[in-house]
Subunit: 386 residues, 2 copies
């Protein structure tokens, strides 16, 4: 077996990396306290503010993957005994709720089921029924079910009850126009390995002044040093010489990826993700398959597809890896074994990749007895693209 | 200013990276659930067991820097109300004690002062004076003061009192022969960016069966998901399909670095670090400077030097960066402003680097009025090397 072949990454992340990002990461390591590096962290913060759509001072990247972003968002504000409302539309909502409990919080789950969004009225009702609620957690783009969760109206309600809105933007950031300030999100975090387009290893995050104030007013110390938001933020701002051995390899990759996003333009980039997602869905449906995510709330960057009856999930994914050197994702949580998840993220969101995965699926499914007119999927996708 | 120049990293880490490691990290990203990658994580575990000197099943690397290793070691076993004895010989002991308190533990500090080791009798006495002690924490190689802290005799005492021995090996691992099993250390962790020789981003860690049992017998859940040892360990062992988006970029770098260590041989590598450390010390003393670390307990990979009177710490370090493109470290904690710290770690531990830093220091210190016979430092080092 060849070590580390060039897999085509069309799953829910990691996504393919632009060679210019790889090149930025191949430059020699520079120290975490080097004035040149600290100055570049400042520039990276500014680029992060651009993609997050925020003026928040406390905007930086955690030295970890997307889950370290989730943990940083929660561990800094949640104290034992706090009440947290968690919207659950899929796997990552489930994980956030579990983490809140690990941190000693009382949790109230608001859910209309896997794959279904949480509505403003659900959150209002939960807030009315509860006493003092420290925070409301929502996943803006649930990777496990391909669902877009609007935040803006909900933010208004959350703030009416003097609570904080925390949102997972792991899949959204860099693939859609995000407006943290306009939407009034208090803490938003992401991972670099989806629509941002670097290898896994950094988790962009931003804290509103209201969120910073909540951290400052804690009764107990933050039970983490590695994920301590105010300390990392001060280090990124050059106000604290040392917090941890921040990696220039990782952060120069992130900086380059953010520069490429800025060069492309947020609107263009969002549109690119929408167009290729729509083309993929057309092709999938022309093949006689159905898209699993909720109509009207679908994501461009991530499409869950119902696995047709009589077809084995793992068999097809293994064949894709072995015959096409291509990765797609399986289901998570309630949807495990029921869906495939195709990601067209960042550098991977291209017409060529749309046609490639449709061709590959058509071939493998036909071989396994699924009936579809050969060529219909790519024809539909091509029409959608033009 | 040139972006990201090739700094020569002769501080306390990050250390220079072997081009073969950089190359391994430049290969295309592969998914965290790809069978090929998961199999390679298994191979990396085995290589980690080799450098740690252990058969511990729960041996893996955290997706974070050295501090994430410290936090993983503590957050998994320490529960609120537990008593922890922390040996403090320098900055990293101080940080560990702070983290234990953040986790709700009662801490007992055992210290003979900055730069001085903790002796077996100190630990015995602290254990005798305390009730039930969950763990004893010791830094095996204190990077802030260049001190080697032996563990073996202390481990015996710790286990006599049915407590766990947790040890920071961030600076030691990969630059010395480490014997976790023989020394009876229950939890040991490191960082990849010192003597291992990769960019920052992974923290090797190992848990003895006794440590795993302590985690399994917790009363409260581990208050972290990202650093949850049993979950990460199960993922690395291929028993859990998903824990976090583990980075192939980072882990293939680690795997290559560990292979290079195995190829060189642990004894040879330890000897290399000792020889170059001794040569550096000879040169430093020939220059009329003094080594700050305790005689008999010195480290080969990290040498703290007392800053001579009348010389400005930051001025010299800035000149080293600007004129020699070379990084050394300043002091931390009680030794801030008092010492420079020169690291000869991993790929950076070479005769050429010993002579380079001595020449550079001699030049810059002479310019600033420090009296020394020109050429004496490199002459002494050369003699020590031969």
């Amino acid at each position: 077996m060849v070590e580390n072949p060039a897999r085509l990454l069309l799953g829910p992340g990691p996504s393919p990396v632009d060679p210019r990002v790889t090149q930025a990461m191949s430059t020699p390591v520079i120290g975490h306290m080097d004035p040149m590096f600290v100055s570049d962290l400042g520039n990276t913060s500014e680029l992060l503010r651009h993609v997050f759509g925020t003026k928040n001072r406390a905007t930086f990247a955690v030295s970890g993957t997307g889950f370290s972003g989730m943990e940083t968002a929660l561990v800094n504000v949640i104290e034992p005994g706090d009440t947290v409302i968690v919207g659950v539309s899929g796997f990552f909502g489930v994980k956030a709720e579990e983490l809140c409990r690990r941190l000693g919080a009382e949790t109230i789950v608001v859910s209309n089921g896997f794959g279904l969004p949480v509505e403003t009225i659900d959150i209002r009702s939960a807030l009315e029924d509860s006493g003092d609620v420290k925070a409301v957690f929502l996943v803006s783009a649930e990777t496990s079910v391909g669902l877009r969760q609007p935040l803006q109206d909900i933010a208004e309600v959350v703030h009416e009850f003097d609570s904080l809105l925390i949102s997972d933007m792991v899949t959204l950031l860099g693939g859609a126009v995000v407006k943290v300030d306009e939407w009034e999100v208090d803490i938003a975090y992401s991972g670099s390995q989806k629509c941002i387009g670097t290898p896994p290893g950094s988790a962009p995050i931003t804290f509103s002044p209201r969120a910073v104030e909540a951290i400052e007013q804690r009764k107990s110390p933050v039970p983490s040093w590695y994920l301590n938001a105010l300390e990392i933020s001060a280090y990124w701002a050059g106000e604290l010489p040392y917090h941890h051995t921040c990696s220039s390899t990782v952060m120069y990759g992130l900086k380059k990826a953010l520069e490429l996003i800025k060069d492309e333009g947020l609107n263009n980039r969002a549109q690119r993700h929408e167009i290729h997602g729509a083309a993929l869905r057309s092709g999938v449906e022309a093949m006689g398959l159905s898209v699993a995510s909720l109509e009207g709330r679908r994501l461009g960057m991530l499409t869950p597809i119902n696995i047709p009856e009589g077809i084995d999930d793992k068999d097809v994914r293994s064949a894709l890896l072995e015959e096409y050197n291509t990765e797609i994702g399986g289901g998570l949580g309630d949807w495990a074994g029921k869906v495939w998840r195709i990601g067209l993220m960042g550098y991977g969101s291209t017409p060529a990749n749309v046609l490639h995965i449709l061709n590959a699926l058509e071939h493998l499914l036909s071989e396994r007895g699924h009936k579809c007119e050969r060529g219909s999927a790519t024809a539909a996708a091509t029409q959608s693209l033009s």
